[in-house]
């Protein structure tokens, strides 16, 4: 992972925020490099468990971003998401995760600058907090290992 030690994951809806992040790119708006974006159809697809799973697997911050209330491509998705995500954000401290490490926001397809600002602000919030190390306690789940294959086998060998 580049751009410092922390790892950030963004869950973005395809229709607004992902397009907003695209617009920030098209406009060449410089941003910190810690963020890794996962594209989803809608914030309504964001299972709170997915956010918690990300923290467990080593994320130091998770950002969820979707369409503004009323602008959801699926009309209602972000309203349900709003309730789920707000509850999740209130539970963060209970789980032992600094509440600042989780954020949800609404960014439209035209708000490229706002996306760049949000990523920058979020990254700057997490940097001083450092690594979360939620996964620290337990060993990694054995049957979860699907990482790099040993060495760099040539295609021929793999065939």
């Amino acid at each position: 992972m580049s751009g410092g030690d922390i790892k950030l994951v963004g869950f973005l809806c395809n229709w607004c925020s992902y397009a907003g992040a695209d617009m920030a790119g098209t406009s060449r708006m410089a941003q910190p490099a810690e963020m890794r974006i996962v594209r989803l159809p809608c914030t309504g697809r964001v299972n709170p468990l997915l956010v918690l799973k990300a923290f467990q697997e080593g994320a130091d911050g998770v950002l969820v971003s979707g369409c503004h209330p009323g602008d959801c491509h699926y009309n209602e998705g972000n309203y349900y998401a709003h309730r789920r995500l707000e509850l999740l954000s209130r539970m963060m401290a209970v789980y032992g995760i600094e509440p600042e490490r989780f954020r949800y926001t609404w960014i439209s397809a035209s708000e490229g600058a706002r996306w760049a600002e949000t990523v920058t602000g979020f990254t700057e919030t997490i940097r001083p907090l450092g690594r979360l190390n939620l996964a620290g306690g337990g060993a990694r789940d054995d049957d979860h290992h699907q990482g790099p294959a040993a060495g760099s086998a040539s295609p021929a060998e793999k065939r």
Binding site: E86, V94, D142
Partner: protein, 308 residues
């Protein structure tokens, strides 16, 4: 006014079976029982050792007409199950019982020996003939008791308890310690707690609202929310799954924590979530038959928590 035996006998005229308690011949404390006829019903009891929430059986008895003896806390589970269409009200006869807090039998046994004689009468608790401070031995879950008397019933057995004075409601015994911890300290706290978990799933098995049963995602590979290892990380994940699944549904009956064989304070998590739900939606699961689970609806005008 009828005693528990007569009430169950009466209810059995209309139902296939009644879920209640009988006395365990070895220990002398109450244990859950199913009564199918008048003869069996003769063995029914209700006392302060009837800690179990019998509503857990209801989703598995969908095809029967069922009677159930329910304390105030159990009745909230019954209501929530009806709201979620897991139980049909018409199929159900609720025998309400008043409850004046339950005894933590295991704690007594640990202190005074297994099977010690327990006599609990009107503010005096005799253990092995010795008078003790009753307050010391009540169930943890009764500390946060919201309702001593059931909100839903067809018939009442015995006497109701009446309103609980609000000043008797105490938070979880570990609450004050827990809230004083920083997030990092809480991480260590939970890691330590979950390192004891043996993944017996007792928390799930006793929970009336955990009715996914055989397809519970704590154990599935599709999807693989939690890995199969028995370690603090995976155990924490399965509790995060439970807590999330119980959002807006947990009635706070405290059975998960009571059943946990390694003493993980699960209600710390659920109490906090219930509190957040109450704050956000003015909602308490199992409080009203008319309520709609808060995460299955939204309100454009009221859902304004100022984020985004």
């Amino acid at each position: 006014m009828n005693g528990i035996v007569d009430t169950i006998k009466n209810v059995l005229k209309e139902t296939d079976l009644v879920l209640g308690w009988t006395t365990d011949p070895v220990t002398g404390v109450a244990t859950p029982a199913r009564f199918h006829d008048e003869k069996e019903a003769e063995q029914a009891v209700f006392d302060s050792t009837c800690a179990h929430n019998l509503a857990v059986h209801l989703p598995r008895l969908k095809d029967s007409r069922v009677g159930i003896v329910a304390k105030g806390c159990d009745a909230r589970s019954v209501i929530e199950l009806i709201i979620e269409h897991e139980v049909q009200r018409e199929q159900l006869a609720v025998i309400g019982v008043g409850c004046g807090s339950l005894l933590d039998v295991k704690k007594i046994w640990r202190r005074y020996g297994y099977g010690v004689a327990i006599k609990d009468r009107d503010d005096s608790l005799l253990i092995g003939g010795e008078q003790v401070n009753r307050d010391e031995f009540i169930q943890r879950k009764c500390h946060g008791c919201l309702e001593a008397d059931p909100d839903i019933y067809d018939v009442i057995a015995g006497e109701v308890t009446g309103e609980i004075p609000t000043d008797t409601v105490r938070p979880h015994p570990l609450h004050d310690m827990f809230v004083s911890l920083t997030p990092a300290e809480r991480r260590s706290f939970w890691r330590e707690q979950f390192s004891r978990c043996i993944r017996c799933y007792a928390c799930r098995e006793v929970c009336p609202m955990c009715f996914c049963r055989d397809v519970c995602i704590m154990q599935t590979q599709i999807p693989r929310w939690a890995g199969g290892a028995v370690d603090a990380k995976q155990s924490e994940m399965i509790q995060l799954i439970r807590v999330n699944h119980l959002a807006g549904r947990c009635t706070g009956c405290g059975e998960c924590e009571r059943a946990c064989p390694v003493g993980i304070p699960l209600m710390l998590l659920l109490d906090e979530q219930n509190h957040a739900i109450e704050e956000m939606f003015a909602y308490g699961a199992g409080a009203s038959l008319k309520a709609r689970p808060p995460l299955l609806v939204f309100d454009v005008n009221k859902d304004i928590w100022g984020k985004g």
